[in-house]
Protein backbone atom coordinates (compact mmCIF):
# COMPACT_ATOMS: atom_id res chain seq x y z
CA UNK A 1 0.00 0.00 0.00
CA UNK A 2 1.28 3.37 -0.98
CA UNK A 3 1.74 5.76 1.95
CA UNK A 4 1.21 9.33 0.91
CA UNK A 5 2.47 12.03 3.22
CA UNK A 6 0.73 15.16 1.88
CA UNK A 7 -1.36 15.69 4.99
CA UNK A 8 1.64 15.01 7.19
CA UNK A 9 3.72 17.49 5.20
CA UNK A 10 1.04 20.19 5.46
CA UNK A 11 0.80 19.63 9.22
CA UNK A 12 4.57 19.76 9.56
CA UNK A 13 4.66 23.03 7.61
CA UNK A 14 1.98 24.57 9.83
CA UNK A 15 3.84 23.50 12.96
CA UNK A 16 7.08 24.98 11.61
CA UNK A 17 5.38 28.30 10.84
CA UNK A 18 3.84 28.34 14.32
CA UNK A 19 7.21 27.56 15.90
CA UNK A 20 9.02 30.37 14.08
CA UNK A 21 6.16 32.75 14.77
CA UNK A 22 6.42 32.03 18.49
CA UNK A 23 10.22 32.39 18.43
CA UNK A 24 9.95 35.69 16.55
CA UNK A 25 7.37 37.07 18.98
CA UNK A 26 9.49 36.03 21.98
CA UNK A 27 12.59 37.57 20.42
CA UNK A 28 10.62 40.72 19.69
CA UNK A 29 9.77 41.13 23.38
CA UNK A 30 13.33 40.28 24.35
CA UNK A 31 14.52 42.92 21.91
CA UNK A 32 12.31 45.52 23.63
CA UNK A 33 13.89 44.70 26.98
CA UNK A 34 17.53 44.23 26.05
CA UNK A 35 19.92 47.12 25.62
CA UNK A 36 22.47 49.43 27.28
CA UNK A 37 19.88 51.03 29.51
CA UNK A 38 17.79 48.76 31.72
CA UNK A 39 14.12 49.28 31.05
CA UNK A 40 11.14 48.99 33.35
CA UNK A 41 8.58 47.71 30.92
CA UNK A 42 5.42 48.16 33.06
CA UNK A 43 5.89 51.87 33.82
CA UNK A 44 7.00 52.45 30.24
CA UNK A 45 3.82 50.87 28.85
CA UNK A 46 1.74 52.76 31.39
CA UNK A 47 3.33 56.05 30.30
CA UNK A 48 2.68 55.26 26.63
CA UNK A 49 -0.99 54.55 27.22
CA UNK A 50 -1.46 57.56 29.49
CA UNK A 51 0.39 59.85 27.10
CA UNK A 52 3.08 60.78 29.66
CA UNK A 53 6.69 61.40 28.78
CA UNK A 54 9.23 59.47 30.80
CA UNK A 55 12.70 58.19 30.02
CA UNK A 56 11.46 54.58 29.92
CA UNK A 57 8.61 55.55 27.61
CA UNK A 58 11.00 57.39 25.30
CA UNK A 59 13.40 54.46 25.11
CA UNK A 60 10.63 51.96 24.50
CA UNK A 61 8.51 53.93 22.05
CA UNK A 62 11.13 55.81 20.10
CA UNK A 63 14.20 53.60 20.20
CA UNK A 64 13.54 49.93 20.96
CA UNK A 65 10.08 49.51 19.42
CA UNK A 66 10.96 50.91 15.96
CA UNK A 67 14.27 49.10 16.02
CA UNK A 68 12.65 45.76 16.83
CA UNK A 69 9.83 46.29 14.33
CA UNK A 70 12.31 47.17 11.60
CA UNK A 71 14.41 44.10 12.45
CA UNK A 72 11.31 41.96 11.93
CA UNK A 73 10.21 43.66 8.71
CA UNK A 74 13.68 43.82 7.15
CA UNK A 75 14.70 40.33 8.26
CA UNK A 76 11.45 38.94 6.90
CA UNK A 77 11.90 40.76 3.58
CA UNK A 78 15.41 39.40 3.17
CA UNK A 79 14.29 35.86 4.06
CA UNK A 80 11.24 35.81 1.78
CA UNK A 81 13.06 37.50 -1.10
CA UNK A 82 16.02 35.12 -0.77
CA UNK A 83 13.76 32.06 -0.80
CA UNK A 84 11.79 33.40 -3.78
CA UNK A 85 14.92 34.19 -5.81
CA UNK A 86 16.52 30.82 -5.04
CA UNK A 87 13.29 29.19 -6.22
CA UNK A 88 13.08 31.32 -9.34
CA UNK A 89 16.71 30.76 -10.30
CA UNK A 90 16.70 27.18 -8.99
CA UNK A 91 20.00 27.93 -7.32
CA UNK A 92 20.80 27.80 -3.60
CA UNK A 93 23.51 30.44 -4.05
CA UNK A 94 21.11 33.16 -5.24
CA UNK A 95 20.37 36.08 -2.95
CA UNK A 96 18.43 39.35 -3.22
CA UNK A 97 21.54 41.44 -4.00
CA UNK A 98 21.96 39.54 -7.26
CA UNK A 99 19.46 41.57 -9.26
CA UNK A 100 21.07 44.89 -8.36
CA UNK A 101 18.26 46.19 -6.15
CA UNK A 102 20.30 46.43 -2.95
CA UNK A 103 23.17 48.30 -4.60
CA UNK A 104 20.74 50.69 -6.31
CA UNK A 105 18.77 51.35 -3.13
CA UNK A 106 22.08 52.10 -1.42
CA UNK A 107 23.05 54.44 -4.27
CA UNK A 108 19.70 56.26 -3.99
CA UNK A 109 20.31 56.80 -0.28
CA UNK A 110 23.92 57.85 -0.85
CA UNK A 111 22.81 60.49 -3.36
CA UNK A 112 20.46 61.88 -0.71
CA UNK A 113 23.35 61.96 1.79
CA UNK A 114 25.63 63.55 -0.74
CA UNK A 115 23.18 66.27 -1.69
CA UNK A 116 22.62 67.13 1.97
CA UNK A 117 18.88 66.50 1.62
CA UNK A 118 18.97 64.10 4.55
CA UNK A 119 19.92 66.98 6.87
CA UNK A 120 16.88 69.01 5.85
CA UNK A 121 14.40 66.15 5.72
CA UNK A 122 15.36 62.88 7.45
CA UNK A 123 12.87 60.72 5.55
CA UNK A 124 14.56 61.77 2.30
CA UNK A 125 17.05 58.97 2.97
CA UNK A 126 14.66 56.00 2.78
CA UNK A 127 12.70 57.74 0.03
CA UNK A 128 15.91 58.04 -1.96
CA UNK A 129 16.60 54.34 -1.36
CA UNK A 130 13.16 53.25 -2.54
CA UNK A 131 13.45 55.49 -5.60
CA UNK A 132 16.84 53.92 -6.36
CA UNK A 133 15.39 50.42 -6.06
CA UNK A 134 12.43 51.20 -8.32
CA UNK A 135 14.63 52.89 -10.92
CA UNK A 136 16.91 49.86 -10.95
CA UNK A 137 14.06 47.45 -11.51
CA UNK A 138 12.72 49.63 -14.35
CA UNK A 139 16.19 49.61 -15.87
CA UNK A 140 16.40 45.85 -15.35
CA UNK A 141 13.26 45.19 -17.36
CA UNK A 142 14.27 47.68 -20.07
CA UNK A 143 17.69 46.05 -20.36
CA UNK A 144 16.38 42.50 -20.31
CA UNK A 145 13.64 43.12 -22.86
CA UNK A 146 10.04 42.00 -23.00
CA UNK A 147 10.23 38.23 -22.82
CA UNK A 148 13.14 38.26 -20.47
CA UNK A 149 14.73 34.96 -19.54
CA UNK A 150 16.11 34.48 -16.06
CA UNK A 151 19.69 34.50 -17.35
CA UNK A 152 19.25 37.87 -19.08
CA UNK A 153 17.65 39.28 -15.94
CA UNK A 154 20.61 38.16 -13.81
CA UNK A 155 23.17 39.53 -16.26
CA UNK A 156 21.31 42.84 -16.40
CA UNK A 157 21.14 42.77 -12.57
CA UNK A 158 24.90 42.24 -12.31
CA UNK A 159 25.50 45.15 -14.70
CA UNK A 160 23.18 47.44 -12.72
CA UNK A 161 24.76 46.34 -9.45
CA UNK A 162 28.26 47.16 -10.72
CA UNK A 163 27.14 50.54 -12.03
CA UNK A 164 25.41 51.42 -8.75
CA UNK A 165 28.50 50.28 -6.83
CA UNK A 166 30.75 52.41 -9.01
CA UNK A 167 28.54 55.47 -8.62
CA UNK A 168 28.43 54.96 -4.85
CA UNK A 169 32.22 54.82 -4.79
CA UNK A 170 32.31 57.97 -6.94
CA UNK A 171 30.09 59.78 -4.44
CA UNK A 172 32.42 58.75 -1.62
CA UNK A 173 35.43 59.72 -3.68
CA UNK A 174 34.19 63.20 -4.58
CA UNK A 175 32.53 63.98 -1.29
CA UNK A 176 33.63 67.56 -0.38
CA UNK A 177 33.18 66.91 3.30
CA UNK A 178 35.12 64.03 4.93
CA UNK A 179 32.42 63.75 7.62
CA UNK A 180 29.77 63.27 4.98
CA UNK A 181 31.74 60.45 3.37
CA UNK A 182 32.30 58.88 6.77
CA UNK A 183 28.58 59.09 7.43
CA UNK A 184 27.85 57.45 4.05
CA UNK A 185 30.43 54.81 4.76
CA UNK A 186 28.91 53.94 8.14
CA UNK A 187 25.43 53.92 6.69
CA UNK A 188 26.48 51.50 3.98
CA UNK A 189 27.63 49.02 6.62
CA UNK A 190 24.03 48.42 7.63
CA UNK A 191 22.45 49.31 10.94
CA UNK A 192 19.14 49.72 12.67
CA UNK A 193 20.42 52.20 15.25
CA UNK A 194 18.74 55.24 13.66
CA UNK A 195 15.37 53.56 13.37
CA UNK A 196 12.22 55.58 13.98
CA UNK A 197 8.54 54.74 13.76
CA UNK A 198 8.37 57.00 10.68
CA UNK A 199 10.73 54.58 8.95
CA UNK A 200 8.40 51.74 9.82
CA UNK A 201 5.37 53.53 8.33
CA UNK A 202 7.35 54.59 5.28
CA UNK A 203 8.49 51.11 4.26
CA UNK A 204 5.34 49.29 5.32
CA UNK A 205 3.39 49.77 2.07
CA UNK A 206 6.15 48.83 -0.44
CA UNK A 207 7.20 45.97 1.82
CA UNK A 208 3.71 44.50 2.15
CA UNK A 209 3.14 44.92 -1.59
CA UNK A 210 6.44 43.14 -2.26
CA UNK A 211 5.59 40.27 0.11
CA UNK A 212 2.16 39.91 -1.48
CA UNK A 213 3.67 39.68 -4.97
CA UNK A 214 6.18 37.06 -3.82
CA UNK A 215 3.80 34.94 -1.78
CA UNK A 216 1.03 34.89 -4.39
CA UNK A 217 3.47 33.50 -7.00
CA UNK A 218 4.91 30.80 -4.78
CA UNK A 219 2.92 27.81 -6.10
CA UNK A 220 4.56 28.29 -9.51
CA UNK A 221 8.00 28.01 -7.87
CA UNK A 222 7.30 24.33 -7.16
CA UNK A 223 6.55 23.68 -10.83
CA UNK A 224 9.65 25.61 -11.81
CA UNK A 225 11.69 22.85 -10.11
CA UNK A 226 11.00 20.85 -13.28
CA UNK A 227 12.68 23.49 -15.44
CA UNK A 228 11.25 26.42 -17.36
CA UNK A 229 9.97 24.44 -20.35
CA UNK A 230 8.01 21.86 -18.38
CA UNK A 231 6.66 24.61 -16.12
CA UNK A 232 5.49 26.46 -19.21
CA UNK A 233 3.65 23.40 -20.55
CA UNK A 234 2.00 23.03 -17.13
CA UNK A 235 0.49 26.49 -17.56
CA UNK A 236 3.02 28.76 -15.80
CA UNK A 237 3.32 32.16 -17.47
CA UNK A 238 7.08 32.50 -17.12
CA UNK A 239 7.38 36.08 -18.25
CA UNK A 240 4.71 37.22 -15.77
CA UNK A 241 6.22 35.09 -13.00
CA UNK A 242 9.69 36.59 -13.56
CA UNK A 243 8.26 40.10 -13.45
CA UNK A 244 6.15 39.51 -10.35
CA UNK A 245 9.01 37.98 -8.43
CA UNK A 246 11.61 40.54 -9.45
CA UNK A 247 9.25 43.40 -8.65
CA UNK A 248 8.36 41.77 -5.32
CA UNK A 249 12.06 41.47 -4.42
CA UNK A 250 12.73 45.04 -5.57
CA UNK A 251 9.93 46.50 -3.47
CA UNK A 252 10.60 44.57 -0.27
CA UNK A 253 14.40 44.50 -0.35
CA UNK A 254 14.65 48.01 -1.82
CA UNK A 255 12.54 49.34 1.05
CA UNK A 256 14.61 47.35 3.56
CA UNK A 257 17.99 48.56 2.29
CA UNK A 258 16.75 52.14 2.12
CA UNK A 259 16.33 52.30 5.90
CA UNK A 260 18.97 49.89 7.13
CA UNK A 261 21.79 50.05 4.60
CA UNK A 262 23.26 46.78 3.36
CA UNK A 263 22.58 43.72 5.51
CA UNK A 264 24.28 40.84 3.82
CA UNK A 265 23.81 37.10 3.76
CA UNK A 266 20.46 36.76 5.58
CA UNK A 267 18.68 36.26 2.25
CA UNK A 268 21.21 33.57 1.39
CA UNK A 269 21.64 31.69 4.66
CA UNK A 270 18.10 31.49 5.97
CA UNK A 271 16.43 29.76 2.98
CA UNK A 272 19.36 27.41 2.72
CA UNK A 273 19.23 26.42 6.41
CA UNK A 274 15.47 25.96 6.45
CA UNK A 275 15.04 24.14 3.12
CA UNK A 276 15.40 20.59 4.57
CA UNK A 277 12.67 21.36 7.14
CA UNK A 278 10.09 21.96 4.38
CA UNK A 279 11.12 18.85 2.38
CA UNK A 280 12.92 21.15 -0.12
CA UNK A 281 9.60 22.46 -1.43
CA UNK A 282 10.28 25.96 -2.83
CA UNK A 283 6.78 27.30 -2.17
CA UNK A 284 6.82 26.24 1.48
CA UNK A 285 10.11 28.02 2.04
CA UNK A 286 8.90 31.61 1.63
CA UNK A 287 6.93 32.20 4.82
CA UNK A 288 9.20 30.00 6.92
CA UNK A 289 12.25 31.91 5.62
CA UNK A 290 10.51 35.23 6.29
CA UNK A 291 9.99 34.29 9.92
CA UNK A 292 13.50 32.81 10.15
CA UNK A 293 14.98 36.01 8.69
CA UNK A 294 13.04 38.12 11.18
CA UNK A 295 14.25 35.97 14.08
CA UNK A 296 17.88 36.04 12.90
CA UNK A 297 17.90 39.81 12.42
CA UNK A 298 16.37 40.33 15.88
CA UNK A 299 19.12 38.15 17.36
CA UNK A 300 21.80 39.97 15.35
CA UNK A 301 20.46 43.36 16.45
CA UNK A 302 20.40 42.34 20.12
CA UNK A 303 23.94 41.02 19.76
CA UNK A 304 25.30 44.28 18.38
CA UNK A 305 23.60 46.12 21.23
CA UNK A 306 25.17 43.87 23.81
CA UNK A 307 28.71 43.45 22.42
CA UNK A 308 30.78 45.95 24.40
CA UNK A 309 32.56 47.70 21.52
CA UNK A 310 33.55 51.34 21.73
CA UNK A 311 31.25 52.16 18.86
CA UNK A 312 28.18 50.04 18.27
CA UNK A 313 29.03 47.16 15.97
CA UNK A 314 27.16 47.55 12.68
CA UNK A 315 24.61 44.84 12.10
CA UNK A 316 25.66 44.44 8.44
CA UNK A 317 29.24 43.80 9.60
CA UNK A 318 28.05 41.10 12.00
CA UNK A 319 25.85 39.32 9.45
CA UNK A 320 28.69 39.42 6.92
CA UNK A 321 31.13 38.03 9.51
CA UNK A 322 28.80 35.12 10.19
CA UNK A 323 27.60 34.81 6.59
CA UNK A 324 30.88 34.75 4.66
CA UNK A 325 32.23 31.51 6.20
CA UNK A 326 28.80 29.98 5.78
CA UNK A 327 28.81 30.98 2.10
CA UNK A 328 32.22 29.38 1.65
CA UNK A 329 30.97 26.17 3.23
CA UNK A 330 28.02 26.24 0.85
CA UNK A 331 30.30 26.63 -2.16
CA UNK A 332 32.53 23.81 -0.96
CA UNK A 333 29.61 21.44 -0.45
CA UNK A 334 28.12 22.28 -3.87
CA UNK A 335 31.55 21.73 -5.42
CA UNK A 336 31.57 18.29 -3.87
CA UNK A 337 28.13 17.66 -5.37
CA UNK A 338 29.35 18.74 -8.80
CA UNK A 339 32.42 16.56 -8.54
CA UNK A 340 30.54 13.49 -7.33
Amino acid sequence: MMSFTYLLETKREKRLVLFFLTVTILLFFASLLIGDTPLNIAPALQAIFQGHHTIDQLILQHIRLPRSLLAIIIGASLGIAGAALQGLLRNPLAEPGLIGVSASAALGAVIVFYSGLSLIFPLALPLGGITGALLSVTMLFLLAGRNSSVLTLILAGVAISSLAGALTALALNLSPNPYASLEIFYWLMGSLSNASLNHVWLILVPTLLGWWLLIRSRAALDVLSLGEETASTLGVNLSLLNKQLILGVALSVGAAVSVSGGIAFIGLIIPHLLRPFVAHRPSSLLIVSGLGGAALLLIADMTVRLVPTQQELKIGVLTALIGAPFFLRLILSSRREWLS
Binding site: F4, A219, D222, V223, L234, G235
Partner: protein, 255 residues
Protein backbone atom coordinates in the same frame (compact mmCIF):
# COMPACT_ATOMS: atom_id res chain seq x y z
CA UNK B 1 -9.17 14.51 -28.89
CA UNK B 2 -7.48 15.02 -32.26
CA UNK B 3 -4.31 17.03 -32.65
CA UNK B 4 -3.56 18.27 -36.14
CA UNK B 5 -0.99 20.49 -37.80
CA UNK B 6 -1.39 22.29 -41.05
CA UNK B 7 1.56 23.39 -43.21
CA UNK B 8 3.82 23.96 -40.23
CA UNK B 9 7.08 25.79 -40.92
CA UNK B 10 9.59 26.30 -38.11
CA UNK B 11 12.81 28.21 -38.66
CA UNK B 12 15.54 28.96 -36.15
CA UNK B 13 18.39 31.30 -37.14
CA UNK B 14 17.50 30.99 -40.84
CA UNK B 15 17.70 27.22 -40.85
CA UNK B 16 14.43 25.43 -41.55
CA UNK B 17 13.81 22.79 -38.91
CA UNK B 18 10.32 21.84 -40.06
CA UNK B 19 9.15 22.37 -43.61
CA UNK B 20 5.47 22.32 -44.48
CA UNK B 21 4.43 19.62 -42.03
CA UNK B 22 0.77 18.62 -42.06
CA UNK B 23 0.01 15.69 -39.80
CA UNK B 24 -2.87 14.19 -37.84
CA UNK B 25 -2.66 12.56 -34.43
CA UNK B 26 -5.81 10.57 -33.75
CA UNK B 27 -7.43 9.82 -30.44
CA UNK B 28 -7.02 6.26 -29.22
CA UNK B 29 -3.76 5.80 -31.10
CA UNK B 30 -0.12 5.61 -30.20
CA UNK B 31 1.69 7.64 -32.83
CA UNK B 32 5.44 7.55 -33.16
CA UNK B 33 7.48 10.36 -34.68
CA UNK B 34 10.61 8.77 -36.08
CA UNK B 35 13.60 9.77 -38.16
CA UNK B 36 17.39 10.02 -37.91
CA UNK B 37 19.19 12.61 -35.74
CA UNK B 38 18.41 16.14 -36.86
CA UNK B 39 15.21 15.11 -38.65
CA UNK B 40 13.08 17.57 -36.66
CA UNK B 41 11.31 15.06 -34.38
CA UNK B 42 11.84 16.92 -31.13
CA UNK B 43 11.16 20.24 -32.84
CA UNK B 44 7.79 18.94 -34.01
CA UNK B 45 6.96 17.68 -30.52
CA UNK B 46 8.07 20.97 -28.92
CA UNK B 47 6.01 22.93 -31.42
CA UNK B 48 2.97 20.80 -30.58
CA UNK B 49 3.65 21.49 -26.88
CA UNK B 50 3.77 25.25 -27.54
CA UNK B 51 7.46 25.54 -26.68
CA UNK B 52 8.57 26.43 -30.19
CA UNK B 53 6.86 29.07 -32.29
CA UNK B 54 6.06 28.32 -35.89
CA UNK B 55 6.67 30.88 -38.64
CA UNK B 56 3.82 29.54 -40.68
CA UNK B 57 0.91 27.15 -40.31
CA UNK B 58 -1.35 26.23 -37.44
CA UNK B 59 -1.90 23.59 -34.79
CA UNK B 60 -5.48 22.52 -34.17
CA UNK B 61 -7.07 20.77 -31.21
CA UNK B 62 -10.31 19.26 -32.49
CA UNK B 63 -10.34 21.88 -35.28
CA UNK B 64 -9.76 24.82 -32.93
CA UNK B 65 -6.43 26.64 -33.41
CA UNK B 66 -4.33 26.28 -30.24
CA UNK B 67 -3.55 30.00 -30.17
CA UNK B 68 -7.25 30.59 -29.48
CA UNK B 69 -7.19 28.30 -26.45
CA UNK B 70 -6.16 29.56 -23.00
CA UNK B 71 -2.81 28.48 -21.56
CA UNK B 72 -4.55 26.79 -18.65
CA UNK B 73 -6.90 24.74 -20.85
CA UNK B 74 -3.94 23.75 -23.04
CA UNK B 75 -2.00 22.65 -19.95
CA UNK B 76 -4.97 20.51 -18.88
CA UNK B 77 -5.30 19.03 -22.37
CA UNK B 78 -1.71 18.48 -23.47
CA UNK B 79 0.86 16.89 -21.20
CA UNK B 80 4.49 17.13 -22.28
CA UNK B 81 7.40 15.01 -21.12
CA UNK B 82 10.75 16.43 -22.27
CA UNK B 83 13.83 14.48 -23.21
CA UNK B 84 15.90 13.98 -20.01
CA UNK B 85 13.55 15.74 -17.60
CA UNK B 86 15.11 17.49 -14.60
CA UNK B 87 14.22 18.28 -11.01
CA UNK B 88 16.32 20.96 -9.38
CA UNK B 89 15.48 20.38 -5.73
CA UNK B 90 15.51 17.19 -3.68
CA UNK B 91 11.70 16.91 -3.70
CA UNK B 92 10.02 13.66 -2.73
CA UNK B 93 8.70 11.46 -5.55
CA UNK B 94 5.07 12.09 -4.59
CA UNK B 95 5.68 15.85 -4.64
CA UNK B 96 7.22 15.63 -8.13
CA UNK B 97 4.28 13.57 -9.41
CA UNK B 98 1.84 15.99 -7.77
CA UNK B 99 3.26 18.82 -9.91
CA UNK B 100 1.39 17.24 -12.81
CA UNK B 101 -1.81 18.46 -11.13
CA UNK B 102 -0.73 22.11 -11.30
CA UNK B 103 -3.02 22.98 -14.25
CA UNK B 104 -6.03 22.15 -12.05
CA UNK B 105 -4.92 23.78 -8.85
CA UNK B 106 -5.83 27.23 -7.68
CA UNK B 107 -3.60 27.12 -4.61
CA UNK B 108 -0.96 24.77 -3.26
CA UNK B 109 -3.26 22.14 -1.85
CA UNK B 110 -4.43 18.92 -3.43
CA UNK B 111 -8.02 17.71 -3.38
CA UNK B 112 -9.17 14.10 -3.42
CA UNK B 113 -9.35 14.06 -7.23
CA UNK B 114 -5.73 15.23 -7.43
CA UNK B 115 -4.61 12.60 -4.94
CA UNK B 116 -6.42 9.84 -6.86
CA UNK B 117 -4.82 10.93 -10.13
CA UNK B 118 -1.39 10.95 -8.48
CA UNK B 119 -1.92 7.48 -7.00
CA UNK B 120 -3.10 6.09 -10.33
CA UNK B 121 -0.06 7.52 -12.10
CA UNK B 122 2.28 6.06 -9.47
CA UNK B 123 0.74 2.59 -9.74
CA UNK B 124 0.72 2.70 -13.54
CA UNK B 125 4.45 3.46 -13.65
CA UNK B 126 5.27 1.04 -10.83
CA UNK B 127 6.78 3.64 -8.52
CA UNK B 128 4.36 3.28 -5.59
CA UNK B 129 7.14 1.98 -3.35
CA UNK B 130 9.27 5.06 -4.04
CA UNK B 131 6.81 7.85 -3.19
CA UNK B 132 8.54 9.00 -0.02
CA UNK B 133 12.07 8.95 -1.44
CA UNK B 134 13.83 12.16 -2.54
CA UNK B 135 14.07 12.10 -6.33
CA UNK B 136 17.83 12.72 -6.49
CA UNK B 137 18.47 9.41 -4.69
CA UNK B 138 16.80 7.36 -7.45
CA UNK B 139 18.45 5.52 -10.33
CA UNK B 140 18.12 6.86 -13.89
CA UNK B 141 15.40 4.37 -14.75
CA UNK B 142 13.41 5.09 -11.59
CA UNK B 143 13.68 8.82 -12.24
CA UNK B 144 12.40 8.36 -15.80
CA UNK B 145 9.35 6.50 -14.49
CA UNK B 146 8.68 9.20 -11.89
CA UNK B 147 8.78 11.83 -14.62
CA UNK B 148 6.40 9.80 -16.77
CA UNK B 149 4.11 9.49 -13.74
CA UNK B 150 4.25 13.28 -13.39
CA UNK B 151 3.11 13.63 -17.02
CA UNK B 152 0.37 11.01 -16.57
CA UNK B 153 -0.90 12.61 -13.35
CA UNK B 154 -2.27 15.51 -15.40
CA UNK B 155 -4.71 13.02 -16.98
CA UNK B 156 -4.57 15.12 -20.13
CA UNK B 157 -6.25 13.91 -23.32
CA UNK B 158 -2.98 14.24 -25.18
CA UNK B 159 0.45 13.07 -24.03
CA UNK B 160 3.57 14.17 -25.88
CA UNK B 161 6.71 12.34 -24.78
CA UNK B 162 10.22 12.84 -26.11
CA UNK B 163 12.09 9.52 -25.88
CA UNK B 164 10.34 8.32 -22.72
CA UNK B 165 12.11 4.97 -22.52
CA UNK B 166 15.64 6.04 -23.35
CA UNK B 167 17.24 5.35 -19.95
CA UNK B 168 15.17 2.33 -18.91
CA UNK B 169 16.14 -1.31 -18.67
CA UNK B 170 14.42 -3.71 -21.15
CA UNK B 171 11.78 -4.84 -18.68
CA UNK B 172 10.72 -1.31 -17.84
CA UNK B 173 10.94 -0.32 -21.52
CA UNK B 174 8.50 -3.08 -22.39
CA UNK B 175 6.26 -2.19 -19.47
CA UNK B 176 6.18 1.51 -20.26
CA UNK B 177 5.48 0.92 -23.98
CA UNK B 178 2.67 -1.51 -23.08
CA UNK B 179 1.35 1.05 -20.57
CA UNK B 180 1.37 3.82 -23.15
CA UNK B 181 -0.44 1.53 -25.58
CA UNK B 182 -3.05 0.73 -22.92
CA UNK B 183 -3.54 4.42 -22.17
CA UNK B 184 -3.98 5.10 -25.89
CA UNK B 185 -6.66 2.39 -26.00
CA UNK B 186 -8.68 4.37 -23.43
CA UNK B 187 -9.14 7.08 -26.05
CA UNK B 188 -6.13 9.30 -25.36
CA UNK B 189 -3.86 10.68 -28.04
CA UNK B 190 -0.29 9.59 -27.40
CA UNK B 191 2.57 11.00 -29.45
CA UNK B 192 6.10 9.73 -28.88
CA UNK B 193 9.47 10.57 -30.33
CA UNK B 194 11.33 7.27 -30.49
CA UNK B 195 14.62 5.94 -31.78
CA UNK B 196 14.09 2.28 -30.90
CA UNK B 197 12.71 0.93 -34.19
CA UNK B 198 11.90 -2.49 -32.68
CA UNK B 199 9.56 -0.87 -30.15
CA UNK B 200 8.17 1.43 -32.84
CA UNK B 201 7.29 -1.58 -35.00
CA UNK B 202 5.76 -3.49 -32.12
CA UNK B 203 3.80 -0.88 -30.21
CA UNK B 204 2.97 2.13 -32.39
CA UNK B 205 -0.32 2.35 -34.28
CA UNK B 206 0.75 5.14 -36.61
CA UNK B 207 4.11 6.53 -37.65
CA UNK B 208 5.34 9.82 -39.03
CA UNK B 209 8.74 9.56 -40.67
CA UNK B 210 10.71 12.78 -40.84
CA UNK B 211 14.01 13.59 -42.47
CA UNK B 212 15.75 16.98 -42.63
CA UNK B 213 12.56 18.75 -41.56
CA UNK B 214 10.39 17.12 -44.22
CA UNK B 215 7.66 14.55 -43.83
CA UNK B 216 8.82 11.51 -45.79
CA UNK B 217 6.06 9.05 -45.03
CA UNK B 218 3.18 8.29 -42.68
CA UNK B 219 0.96 5.32 -41.94
CA UNK B 220 1.02 2.11 -39.94
CA UNK B 221 4.45 0.71 -38.97
CA UNK B 222 4.77 -2.02 -41.65
CA UNK B 223 3.94 0.48 -44.41
CA UNK B 224 6.42 3.09 -43.14
CA UNK B 225 9.29 0.93 -41.90
CA UNK B 226 9.92 -0.54 -45.34
CA UNK B 227 13.41 -1.62 -46.38
CA UNK B 228 13.40 1.24 -48.93
CA UNK B 229 12.55 3.91 -46.32
CA UNK B 230 15.08 2.51 -43.85
CA UNK B 231 17.77 2.58 -46.51
CA UNK B 232 17.05 6.03 -47.88
CA UNK B 233 16.32 7.79 -44.57
CA UNK B 234 18.36 5.91 -41.95
CA UNK B 235 20.99 4.41 -44.23
CA UNK B 236 20.54 0.94 -42.72
CA UNK B 237 19.59 -2.58 -43.63
CA UNK B 238 17.15 -4.33 -41.35
CA UNK B 239 15.73 -7.76 -40.74
CA UNK B 240 12.12 -8.36 -39.86
CA UNK B 241 9.55 -11.06 -39.28
CA UNK B 242 6.55 -12.05 -37.25
CA UNK B 243 6.21 -13.50 -33.79
CA UNK B 244 2.92 -14.25 -32.05
CA UNK B 245 1.11 -12.44 -34.85
CA UNK B 246 3.11 -9.28 -34.25
CA UNK B 247 5.61 -7.69 -36.57
CA UNK B 248 9.17 -7.30 -35.41
CA UNK B 249 12.10 -5.43 -36.89
CA UNK B 250 15.76 -5.24 -36.08
CA UNK B 251 18.25 -2.75 -37.53
CA UNK B 252 21.04 -4.94 -38.88
CA UNK B 253 23.79 -3.23 -40.85
CA UNK B 254 24.71 0.34 -41.81
CA UNK B 255 24.86 0.72 -45.57
Amino acid sequence: MTLRTSKLIVKVNNSTLLNNISVNFSAGKLTGIIGPNGAGKSTLLRTLAGLQTQQHGNIFLDDKPTHEISKKTLAQTISYLPQSPECHWALTVERVVSLGRFPYQTGRHLNQKDINAIKEACYATDIQHLVERPIHQLSGGEKARVMLARALATQADILLADEPIVSLDPRHQLEIMALLQTIARTGKTIVLVLHELHFVMRYCDELILLDKGLKIDEGDPPSVLTPQNLRSVYGIDSISGQHQNKNWLLPWNPL
